[in-house]
């Protein structure tokens, strides 16, 4: 999956207009990045990458790029 498509999935998850997320955003600046979004993100990782990441690692992420780093080996530019 490309990083661009990954960010589109994240846009959908946090109810952004598609194409809003560029990667540099702080998660605290995304209004809909809340506990329900974290659960949705876990489902996203499972569905699209067959990956399970401990919740503590997701919660430790500060930026969208940090979220991308969780599946860095599965993303292409």
């Amino acid at each position: 999956m490309t990083r661009k498509n990954y960010f589109l999935l994240l846009d959908e998850l946090v109810e952004n207009d598609l194409g809003t997320i560029t990667g540099t955003e702080n998660l605290t600046d995304i209004p809909k990045w809340d506990s329900l979004a974290v659960i949705g993100f876990i489902a996203l990782l499972d569905q699209h990458f067959a990956v399970s990441v401990p919740a503590v690692k997701i919660i430790a992420c500060r930026t969208v790029d940090d979220l991308a780093s969780l599946v860095a080996d599965k993303l292409t530019d």
């Binding site: 809340d34 329900l36 659960i39 876990i42 489902a43 569905q47 997701i58």
Partner: protein, 350 residues
């Protein structure tokens, strides 16, 4: 995780009871209206039945048991085994099963004991009861399963405030040449801290400090004597273990998905159930969803779902069911069970 089989026991009756007090999902100071819609969409809960101070889990189970004994025409002296499954017992001691034994007027020869499990408790209860009955130690059993989790939930904790409802159930089991149940069970104790009440018992006794509410993650207010739930880790656990469990129990029974008449999973929340069903490619019309008016009733969620959503279907013809409980502990158990028109009561409201 291979399945194991218990022969010679049939499920012949089921009744559930809920408190009369309804709590609708409404905005609070902790959860404003704009956040509420999203929470309701995720949980699938619009309202719950909650027990007041004068109703315990045992009262709900006793009401269900009385109704079931009457409808089945069982002599009380014919009940050989009573198991009470709950994480909200009446007392630290004695076992609530013993006091229920007295309330129901059962014989002194009847064995009675508690099992402390939640989400997986109903299926574990079936497993333990059926296993004892297979040994010949009991011919008839009452499995009483329920919880009043609303009593230990903070109204200012948005992760749990609108999720949990209260219910109690009674299941009648009888030995029979034709009965067969296939079980899968499991535990991952490394997850014990992800769904717990941290204080109030012997590891961390109750004190002024433990009774004081404090702000936790996400701004949720709760005391150490109230339920603390790590939703994301619990979701990780369910994705990791539940599909494999369902697959194993189907394999143990020699069933394919199309043969199953109902998949009754622990009614944790709608998002989780929808995702699990999609992931496991379960036929959507066969996955029971009964959260809307009852919430997550913990150990009672499977019997509530059966009474609420499958009563008419189960009265018409024999049915193959997969019942799966998973959650607190982490603990999980599933059963593939064929039922032949058991007596299912409409849900009783106290």
């Amino acid at each position: 995780m291979p399945a194991f089989t218990i022969d010679g026991v049939r499920l012949v009756g089921l009744a559930t009871a809920v408190p009369g007090t309804r709590a609708q999902v409404q905005p609070t100071s902790a959860v404003p209206a704009e956040d509420l819609a999203k929470i309701m969409a995720s949980t699938g809960v619009r309202g719950r039945h909650v027990a007041g101070a004068d109703i315990c889990t045992s009262d709900l189970c006793a009401a269900a048991a009385e109704r079931l004994l009457e409808r089945l025409g069982w002599e009380r002296a014919s009940v050989d085994l009573l198991i009470f499954v709950s994480q909200t017992p009446d007392y630290v001691l004695p076992a609530t099963a013993c006091s229920l034994h007295g309330r129901l007027g059962l014989a002194k020869s009847c064995a009675a004991f508690d099992i402390n499990l939640g989400c997986s408790g109903y299926v574990y209860g079936l497993c333990v009861a059926a296993g004892l009955m297979q040994s010949g130690s009991a011919r008839r059993a009452l499995l009483l399963v329920g919880d009043t989790i609303s009593k230990v939930v903070s109204g200012d904790d948005r992760s749990v405030a609108f999720l949990f409802g209260d219910a109690g159930s009674a299941t009648a089991l009888e030995t029979s040449g034709s009965g067969r149940m296939h079980f899968v069970t499991g535990t991952d104790g490394s997850g014990a801290g992800h769904l717990q009440i941290p204080a109030g018992m012997f590891r961390a006794p109750s004190s002024e400090v433990t009774r004081l509410a404090h702000k936790g993650e996400g701004g949720n207010m709760r005391s150490a004597e109230q339920l603390c739930m790590n939703g994301p880790e619990i979701f990780n656990f369910t994705i990791r273990e539940v599909p494999a469990m369902i697959s194993a129990v189907l394999q143990g029974a020699g069933w394919n998905m199309e043969q199953v008449d109902g998949f009754v999973l622990h009614q944790a929340n709608k998002f989780m159930l929808d995702y699990l069903a999609k992931r496991m490619r379960l036929p959507p019309e066969k996955v029971v969803l009964a959260l809307e008016n009852y919430g997550n009733t913990s150990s009672a969620s499977i019997p509530v779902a059966l009474c609420e959503s499958m009563r008419e279907r189960l009265a018409r013809a024999p049915a193959k069911l997969v019942l799966a409980g998973f959650g607190v502990g982490f603990s999980w158990a599933a059963v593939a069970i064929e039922v032949d028109c058991p007596h299912i009561e409409p849900i009783i409201t106290l």
